[in-house]
Structures are given as C-alpha cells and as structure tokens.
Symmetry: C2
Subunit: 253 residues, 2 copies
C-alpha cells in the first residue's frame, strides 16, 4: 500500500503502462494519499518513481485531468482537485472516459428480462436504420443507497445478431453491456450519448415514483463496437430532482 516506491506490474496484463499508472495514481488520490492537494508529484518525479518516460506519465495524467481529478498549470505544477469541485451529493460524478459505463460506485442496478420486441420507433428514428428483427429487451432500475427513490429507469435493447449472448444474460450479476462483452467476445469501443429533458410518461412516472409529466433527464445511449455496429441501445430516465450530470472541460490553448 505504501506508494513511495511505486512499481507497475506488467505481468500477464495487456494493459498499457499509462493506464496502469493512471489507475495507481487514481487510487492514491481517492484514498487520500495526498492530504495537501498541492503536493502532487511533478512529471519528472513520476518518471523517476515509476521508471517510465515522460510520454507515459503525461498520458496517465491526461486521463486523470479529463476526469476532473487533477488540474495542471504550466509553470506551477499539478494539484489535486478538491472533492467539493468533483461533484456534490446529488451529482453523478464523471466523466469523459469509459467510466460512464461503470458509474456504479454507490448504486445498484436491478433489471429484468422483458422478452423480445421490435425496436420502438423513437430508437429506430434516432439511429436512422432499418432496425429490423426482434431485439432482446431489458428493463432496470438503478437505486442509490440511502436515497428514497430510484435514480434511473433504463430500457435496454440488444441487437438481434447478439441473440445468443442476450438470452444468457442474468439479472443482478453485472451491467448488461459488460455481460454482452463477456458472452459474445465483442468489445464495446464507442458510446454516443444524447441528453434531453422530457416529461415523465405514465410508465416512467410509476416506476420512478414521480408525478406524471414531471421533468426527467433522458439519456439515449448507443453502444458500438470497433467497426461501428450497434450492439445495444438504451434509454435511461432520471428524475429531474434526484439526478444531475456533471462534466469537466479543459479549454485548449
């Protein structure tokens, strides 16, 4: 656990060095290894400590920066972003990375299979595709510990080509897309998000326990593989008063 003599194991893992390094530093930051936010190591210090080049260090720090964990300034150095600036109680933490895909920190996700169905028109229009065939449909609720009502209702549809994998998906084991990855062997490479404010439909209202037509944040997601094929498409409805989407942007130049 002591982190002064860091060493990045490269054993069987195929992960690039800068990712291992990023995970290492992320863990340190979150565990409060640096009580003084301004005492975060410099690039050259990290190079020496881990025995890697500056490229590797900078690539790792770039990740942490887009997550809003650190902030960097030419001439001054790197400082850790105070937790207060990383999102409040109501706020869904991050981020620009694939971490959106595992935002299950202090929340649980329960879903049930809903059989197969044609893709609803709203989706079909959105992706501008023939979208033929019957898609496996799951519906889930995300609940956060110590909070009164659920923070999300999600309807997910799996592409017909993945029927073999979809039929083996088990509720309450892992997120849907990760089970798909494991069962089909296909990796999700890109996600597009579409955020909009909509009134709660009757089903959304009932499931979330909010008044009908009350404002909801609807996040439409397309999960794509490396070749651009759509693997999964989902719509999440979040109650307006229990959920906010937070992000950080660094201005270039």
């Amino acid at each position: 656990m002591s982190a002064t003599v860091g060493k990045i194991a490269q054993k069987g893992s195929k992960k690039p060095r800068y990712q291992e390094l990023a995970e290492d530093l992320r863990a340190e930051i979150l565990s409060g290894e640096y009580p003084d936010p301004t005492q975060f190591p410099t690039e050259s210090a990290l190079c020496a400590r881990y025995g890697v080049s500056r490229f590797t260090v900078r690539e790792a720090l770039r990740s942490l920066q887009t997550e809003g964990l650190i902030q960097r300034r030419r001439g001054s150095g790197t400082v850790i972003q105070p937790a207060s600036a990383r999102g409040g109680a109501l706020h869904q933490p991050l981020s620009n990375v694939g971490e959106i895909l595992q935002y299950a920190r202090d929340s649980k996700y329960l879903f049930t299979p809903m059989g197969k169905a044609l893709l609803p028109k709203k989706f079909a229009v959105h992706i501008g595709e023939v979208a033929s065939g019957r898609w496996h449909h799951f519906r889930g609720l995300r609940v956060r510990q110590g909070q009164s009502g659920p923070i999300a209702l999600t309807d997910a549809y799996i592409h017909p080509d993945l029927e073999a994998a979809a039929s083996q998906i088990k509720p309450n084991e892992d997120t849907i897309f990760r089970q798909i990855e494991r069962l089909s062997g296909i990796r999700i490479a890109r996600v597009t998000q579409d955020i909009q404010a909509v009134p709660a439909s009757s089903t959304v209202a009932a499931e979330l326990g909010v008044p009908r037509r009350s404002p909801c944040l609807r996040i439409l997601r397309c999960y794509l593989d490396a070749t651009g094929r759509i693997l999964e498409i989902s719509a999440s409805h979040h109650p307006g008063d229990r959920f906010a989407y937070t992000m950080h942007i660094e201005v270039e130049g």
Copy 2:
C-alpha cells in the same frame, strides 16, 4: 482552397501546430473534401504533407476524434464519421473540447444587461462559496435560424472583481465570456457543467414560449481561470423538445 499541399502558417500566431493542423483538417472534412470517408489520409501521409512529426499529427487527430468527426482503428486506418452519426437536426453538435464555448454555428445570441445583483441562492449553494458582493447580471436568448422559438434562455453573472470589464460588455458583439477575456485579459481555462432536468419557471416559460412547468434542460456552467477563480457563472434553460445535448465517448483500452 486546394489542400493537397498543405502548409501550416505559423507566422504571428502563437497557436500550437497541432491545433492549426486540426483546424485545417476539420475544415476539409466539413467542406466535403473527402467524398469517400475511408480515404482519409494516414498518419504518415499527414506527416509528409505538413512536414511535422507523428506526435503533432496524432495530437490533431485526437481532437477530431473526441469531436466525433473521425474514427480510428489499429490496422485499418482512419475513416470520417458520416454526418448522420454526428448529430441530427435537433441536436446541439458537441463536444468535449472548448468548442462548447463557441457553439454558435448556426445560431445567434442576443442578451441585455440587467444591472447588478447578489448571486441567487441556487448558484451560491452550487459553488459552495460566500459569493459576496454584487455580480453583474446579463440575460440572453439564443435563437436558431429557421426555427420557431428560441433554444435557450441564459442568465449569466460576472464576478464582482471583474466589474470594470463587465461594465464595458456590449450586447450583440460577441459571447459574454469572450468579451470578458478581451476586456480583462484573463483567460478562461476550465468550465464545469451540470446538466439537469427542471420544470420551466414562469419567467423561463414566458421567455422561451413554452408552457409553465414543462421540462427544460438546465445547464449550469462555471467559468474558471487557470488558478481556479470563478469568473462567470451561468444557467441556461433549453426547451426539452427543441434541444438535445450530444456527446461521443471513446472507450479506452
């Protein structure tokens, strides 16, 4: 206009090479220079064409990728993302870059000074600060050509320390934050965004021309300088049925 013998002027500009290169390529893509999306140049081709190293090329392509303009795959190459996947008619383009700050492609922004006032409680709570003093207040409407109603109502507050600059801001010249940058000499380095669904208040409803309590996308922005000081804070309300926020995420690894 011919782009086969690209050359990046580095004259008086202080912009890094990779940014100039990114702008160059972005313009080419958007102007339809590559009818076949798969015929986008390879890294080595761009290195040769612009006489720069691979680092510079990759840094430029990284920008275009996070904007969702191109897609890259090891072994295959770089392809241009079809316009259909870059956001539809209703969709506010992007992105993760500082382009959020200039999303005035086909829209106009009209605002009027509202004098000075204490920071409303909602903001003060959000930034967790004493937030004393009187902040300069502007209110503006963003309208899109060929669209019936406005797509945003924005309330912006300028920090009391920037009063000298704020009092010189002129409506209908440029965005507020860019005028602040010019008038005060301070550069905006970071922006945090907080997206939530809220019901339209009476003023929001009146200004946007939507029913009271109808769902709106509220984007709370903090504009910070390099040292983390808050320069401006704003709340934008977008009608739920006229606006969507689109973003692209690449999964790392």
